[in-house]
């Protein structure tokens, strides 16, 4: 950002800057109306309401930190937090590693084939959560599902399994579907990043007798590090916000075994109209995500030096 400061031949006289500022804000105005009105104000309202007992059709009552105390003692919240953490801890590394592997295979292919695969892995994202979810719900169905049929055919299971209705399996089914809808974007990013790795470095390493694995870890991996970092951040944010899959597949059941924080916020705020409590959990989630992003950026900043 700072490197661009030598812009403008007239120097940075105050009067010129004021003139520039006025015209700049005229250009920014349309965006700012929407950004302030429908992003910044709601963010501030979210924080404010989290200190109130708030519901439909009556004035909010100030309760201080009560919502946060309730949250801390709420067993269902803790269960939802645990599930969310499991989803994040399982999904983020597998999505990142898998998409890096796929990208490193397909980026060396010819242009057509590369586009083809990139497109294939993006299909579940584009198809839309609801359409993807309903077909998986059918495939996981106890009586009519393909998964049970195939499982019995190959002898992996003896009797039908109620995949989505069983506390032990439901969360894993959700993680699998989340996985298939999460790798499209990372693959696109990795294919582009690997394509930008300096080919002369790779050739030099190969001439020196480096194995493929050595070339990968010593040369390609450090160069795609900024991309890896970005992928870690966006996948973490998306996994923390896992909602639609839960709402459509299990509604948090059986027995809250698949509640995530986002689903629980939805349940409390939009089913029971406990806006204050919902917002407190929202603030908590936002803080956790912000911390994760900050830590990942700090770690990467150190690696780059």
């Amino acid at each position: 950002m700072a490197s661009k400061r030598n812009n403008g031949s007239g120097g940075t006289s105050h009067a010129l800057m004021v003139k520039e500022t006025i015209s700049a804000y005229l250009f920014l105005l349309p965006f700012l109306i929407f950004f302030v009105g429908f992003v910044l104000i709601p963010m501030v309202m979210c924080l404010r309401t989290s200190f109130f007992d708030s519901t439909m059709g009556r004035a909010d009552i100030f309760v201080g930190l009560q919502n946060y105390v309730t949250m801390w003692n709420d067993e269902i919240f803790r269960k939802a937090l645990l599930n969310t953490v499991i989803i994040v801890v399982v999904a983020v590394p597998t999505v990142t590693a898998f998409s890096l592997w796929v990208a490193s295979v397909i980026y060396q292919m010819g242009g057509r084939l590369r586009s083809f695969y990139r497109c294939i892995f993006y299909l579940p994202v584009v198809t839309g959560t609801v359409a993807v979810t309903v077909v998986w719900k059918w495939m996981f169905n106890y009586y009519y599902g393909l998964v049970n049929y195939l499982g019995k055919t190959v002898g992996a299971i003896e009797n039908n399994v109620n995949w989505l209705g069983n506390e032990k399996t439901a969360l894993w089914c959700i993680i699998l579907i989340l996985f298939t809808t999460s790798i499209g974007q990372p693959i696109v990013l990795y294919v582009s990043a690997l394509g930008n790795v300096d080919p002369s470095l790779v050739e030099a390493a190969e001439v020196d007798g480096a194995t493929n694995l050595q070339t990968f870890w010593r040369i390609k991996w450090p160069q795609v590090m900024p991309t890896t970092l970005y992928i870690l951040v966006i996948t973490t944010i998306n996994s923390f916000q896992c909602f639609a899959l839960i709402q459509l597949l299990t509604s948090g059941g059986p027995n809250h075994s698949t509640d995530t924080i986002m689903y629980y916020i939805y349940y409390k705020a939009f089913k029971l109209f406990e806006y204050g409590y919902g917002n407190a959990m929202g603030v908590f989630l936002a803080v956790v995500i912000a911390l994760f992003s900050a830590v990942q950026f700090l770690v990467a900043g150190k690696n780059n030096e």
Binding site: M1, N7, M17, E20, T21, S23, F27, P30, F31, F34, G37, F38, V39, L40, I41, P42, M43, M45, C46, T49, Y117, I120, F121, L123, P124, V126, T127, G128, T129, V130, A131, V134, V135, K137, W138, Y144, L146, Y149, V188, L189, S192, N212, P226, T227, L229, Y230, V233, I237, F240, Q241, Q247, L248, M262, I265, F270, G278, N279, L285, A286, A290
Partner: protein, 277 residues
């Protein structure tokens, strides 16, 4: 060199095979949606799955269109197109200014934009719902459109694209006496066209699939989007898989077509929109 080529070959064959299997795994759900939508109830409830629809039928689609599915589709297209058009215009203007002008408050504004992008969008849905109710926009299509336009990803993307405009060209236009608005229309817009293409397609697909926002903002049967309509069918007729797959096909086909036609722009948008370092 020879040894490294020989070493690479078995790995390449194995990975090509795995890749093909994965492709089948990723396409299969779509295949199952489309074939399921034309299967008879008997074929769907048969103990062994029918891999290919033997006696294709349109019954499921007839049943689907006895619901206002066309209206749901129209609502979705309206939301996506309007949000896309406004986002492209406001983002192109704001992105250009952030990339090419020095002004008071620029650093602060840019920081706010990047921070907002790192926060979970869904968290602000509770206050947004109350805001929309206060504005009497709840349960209208605008309740979905307006917050989408405010999301700053587009501005970030257009800033990235606008960095590529040569400053000399802007200077030259200024010296020729071109006003700010004319410079923007005649110089900036043509140069960031690929960026606008990428943003347009990206916004269209994101809005089309933003199920959570639609779920919170829209209630009446005549205001639903195709995703919401499909979710409603699924909730009401959970085991009529033929009907639900017909709904899923109708929801998926338009957006898949758009994606496949404009894939190049879309890929570019994802790559340029990455916040790095």
């Amino acid at each position: 060199m020879n040894s490294s080529v020989r070493k690479r070959t078995p790995y390449r064959i194995v990975s090509a095979v795995i890749m093909a299997l994965l492709a089948i795994f990723f396409v299969f759900p779509l295949y199952w949606i489309f074939t399921g939508s034309v299967k008879t109830a008997a074929a769907i409830n048969a103990p062994a799955p029918q891999w290919f629809p033997m006696e294709p039928t349109m019954t499921n689609y007839n049943k689907l269109f006895s619901n206002p599915a066309l209206l749901w589709l129209f609502n979705t297209i309206f939301i996506a197109v309007v949000a896309m058009a406004i986002t492209c215009l406001t983002s192109a203007m704001a992105g250009y200014v952030l990339a090419k002008k020095r002004f008071y408050g620029r650093a602060l504004l840019f920081t706010l934009i990047v921070c907002a992008m790192a926060l979970p969008k869904q968290v602000i849905l509770i206050p947004l719902l109350r805001e929309m109710s206060a504005l009497r926009l709840h349960d209208t299509l605008w309740a979905v459109i307006l917050p989408t336009v405010g999301w700053p990803f587009g501005v970030f993307l257009m800033k990235q694209f606008s960095e590529g405009i040569p400053t000399e060209m802007l200077e030259a236009a200024r010296i020729d006496g071109s006003g700010e608005a004319r410079t923007f229309v005649s110089i900036v817009l043509p140069m960031v066209k690929p960026g606008i293409g990428a943003l347009a397609i990206f916004t269209f697909i994101t809005v089309w699939n933003d199920y959570f926002m639609q779920l919170i903002m829209l209630n009446s049967n005549t205001k639903l989007t195709i995703s919401l309509g499909l979710a409603q069918l699924q909730a009401e007729m959970a085991t009529d898989f033929g009907l639900i797959m017909a709904g899923a096909s109708v929801a998926a086909i338009p957006i898949l077509t758009v994606f496949i036609c404009f894939q190049k722009y879309f890929t570019q948008g994802i790559t340029m929109g990455a916040v790095k370092g």
